[in-house]
Amino acid sequence: MNRLILNNSNSPLLVVALSIFLIISVSNVYAETDLSAREIMEKVDEESRKSTESAFTRMKLTTCKYGKRDGKVKCAEKARVKLVESAQINTGENNKDSKSIAIILEPASEKGIGMLSYSYDDSDRDNETWLYLSALGKVKRISVRNSDDEETESASIFGTEMTTEDQETGKLDDYTYELLEQGKFRGREVAVIESTPKPHRLSKSSYGKTQSWIDTERFISLKVQMFDKYNNPIKKLEVGRVEKINNVWMGRSLTFFNTVSNRLTNMKLEAINFDIDIKEDFLTQRALTDQAFREKYLKDLRKQAK
């Protein structure tokens, strides 16, 4: 059966790719750092949405246990690799919601698995995810974590160190922001901003707070440190290979370090294309059940992406 696919994979990858850029976006206008923390995050979110609108992505997810060798971080075991194609559009009021689909190309045991996800900006609306189980011949709705159970963590995506919570965009009103520090980081002017979930959000979050190193010229995040509810650092995102693609600054290599389990997932964007003509009709359950429809559409997206 396809249960393994789930690998607790309750969510579409692509959103990850893109939402992770949440944080990773364009603009070279706002080099000044006299903006408030909230304003900086709004700019990041706003520019991120522009850059992730109608995006078609091919990415490689590599997961392994890590350690240090000769002072450098290294995989300490044979890495698991997944190759994924994904498409996303922004929808809804002010384009703040999103619809996305992710399809696994490799490994063979998971090939063809598709995952459809609708993400809503409004914190009163629960995100939705569906998975197609070919062995059962049907689409299955996946329960996505929205409960107030503090002991529950967000589900991992495709068995990686990325979780459904890491993929969320928007919902800026659910957090308070504080500008901790400004200065140089890896040669860039950055502002370190701490995001703390408000009480109603905290109960649904795996994180007690996050700290983001935001490039205040490009408005992308270079690093994000996640803390648990007891203020312990538990996870970290490092953004590498920052490039300007289609006039958009973004990191092509994103690495999540789970500092509790000492496992990492590297997401390498092999290809990303913006402003692709992705019709909303494609991002429906039909794309899961109708492979002919899906292949036809993907072929068209690949052609546009060339």
């Binding site: 240090k68 060798r69 075991e77 063979a108 011949g137 329960s143 991992s156 002919a292």
Partner: protein, 422 residues
């Protein structure tokens, strides 16, 4: 063919052992690697950081069009000094891809070699079957699909509406694909699909002959997708997946019955509620001295619960005979037992992961009303790497010897499977 499978199997077993050694070397015995504590800072991180070192990670596999799988399965009966009940090697070959601009196709063939200790060996030493083969074409709002595949109805697997494809039964829930012609029309937030099957598969005992299996089955499903919930309506003429023995003439029958159904799911926080209900008309049944047709209401209610990696499924499945007489009978292997008006089955299962998600375990219990049956299963899966998997399972059933599940009384099995997939 047999020799080829043997050789292939030996190579793969060698590969498994060798591969495990390599992995162990990489992962656990490399003393140059020092794991960091949880507060480790990685301030030296830069674009030059090369996590994967010299180990190249191929972008794509060669022979990308080929799906190859080899699995070796063993089954043992603890109640009989762990005698071997199953020993078979399966080889699957498949491919998939676009067919012209509008189509898509998949083919998967499975060759099975039954070794002499396998209980099926006396029936057949080997066989080749089509596991899946279909062509699908998509035109504007319509999609058609022709071939051998599975159609899933209803929310709960094995529930009131999961009636299109037969399954192996309580002890082997694998779904068997069938030849279908189907068409679906997609609209905004809804879809209407129809299927036709001219030769439905029926599970029957080799000891009994089946009377007339020439009936067709067909059905229609109308699904509506709403935010937070999906609903669907069903109607059709179906053939029972299991043939029923007529106690008068000793012949088994699988005559068509009619179905009207409704299924829905709704997400609540971490919970997913599933509900199915079906009205089934003209189901065959035994009565003292008569072989009659009855109407029945089947329903099920289930909760999917996810907490971190732990998943629970709790379900109730009920069958209620609308017309009922005390002399209704249910056949058993050698005789018959009285039928209850209402039969309820309860199921609870839980699964979780451990060991960096490379391992998972599962536990389930199925209990029938009146303590007619209790079937407990446990499983342990090892996801060795992207190609190799291994699983170990055990089942034990306790059934009343004078009730419908008597055949399963003291059923015990331990199963082991090693699988390679390329």
């Amino acid at each position: 063919m047999v020799n080829l499978i043997k050789i292939l199997f030996i190579y793969l077993m060698f590969g498994l052992v060798f591969n495990s050694v390599v992995n162990a070397d990489d992962s656990f015995f490399d003393d140059e690697v020092v794991f960091e504590d949880s507060n480790q800072e990685l301030d030296e991180w830069s674009d030059d950081s090369d996590i994967f070192g010299d180990e190249s990670i191929d972008d794509e596999k060669s022979l990308a069009w080929l799906n190859l799988g080899v699995s070796q399965k063993w089954g043992f009966n603890p109640a009989s000094s762990y005698s071997t009940t199953k020993e078979r090697t399966e080889l699957t070959l498949g491919t998939s891809g676009s067919v012209s601009d509008l189509g898509y196709g998949e083919v998967e063939l499975k060759a099975t070699k039954y070794w002499p200790s396998d209980s099926y060996y006396s029936t057949s030493a080997s066989d080749i079957e089509v596991e899946r083969a279909f062509l699908q074409f998509s035109f504007e709002d319509w999609s058609t699909k022709l071939g051998r595949y599975t159609i899933g109805w209803g929310e709960l697997e094995g529930g009131a509406l999961d009636v299109v494809n037969p399954a192996g039964g309580l002890t082997d829930p694998k779904i068997i694909s069938q030849w279908f012609l189907s068409a679906t029309r997609y609209s905004n937030n809804s879809d209407l699909s129809l299927f036709y099957n001219s030769n439905p598969s029926i599970t029957k005992s080799a000891l009994l002959s089946l009377k007339d299996d020439s009936d067709d089955e067909f059905g229609v499903r109308y699904g509506i997708n709403r935010e937070g919930s999906d609903v669907a309506f069903y109607a059709g003429q179906l053939i029972p997946n299991n043939a029923l023995k007529n106690l008068i003439d000793g012949v088994t029958y699988a005559s068509p019955y009619q179905l009207l159904g409704f299924g829905m799911n709704k997400a609540f926080d971490d919970y997913l509620l599933k509900f199915d209900i079906a009205y089934k008309r003209n189901l065959e049944h035994n009565r003292l001295g008569q072989f009659i047709k009855v109407d029945r209401i089947d329903w099920d209610l289930a909760f999917d619960i996810q907490k971190n990696d732990r998943q629970w499924l709790i379900s109730i499945n009920s069958q209620y005979l609308l017309d009922f007489y005390e002399d209704y009978l249910t056949p058993t292997l050698l005789a018959s037992v009285s039928t209850k008006r209402n039969t309820t089955t309860y199921m609870a299962s839980v699964s979780d992961k451990f060991g960096d998600s490379d391992w998972s375990w599962s536990l389930s219990n199925i209990a029938a009303s009146n303590n007619d049956l209790s079937l407990t299963s446990a499983g342990l899966d090892w996801d060795i790497n992207d190609h190799w998997k291994a699983s170990l399972g055990a089942s034990y059933a306790n059934a009343k010897s004078d009730r419908a599940f008597s055949l399963l009384d003291d059923y015990q099995r331990v199963n082991l499977e090693v699988k390679y997939q390329y």
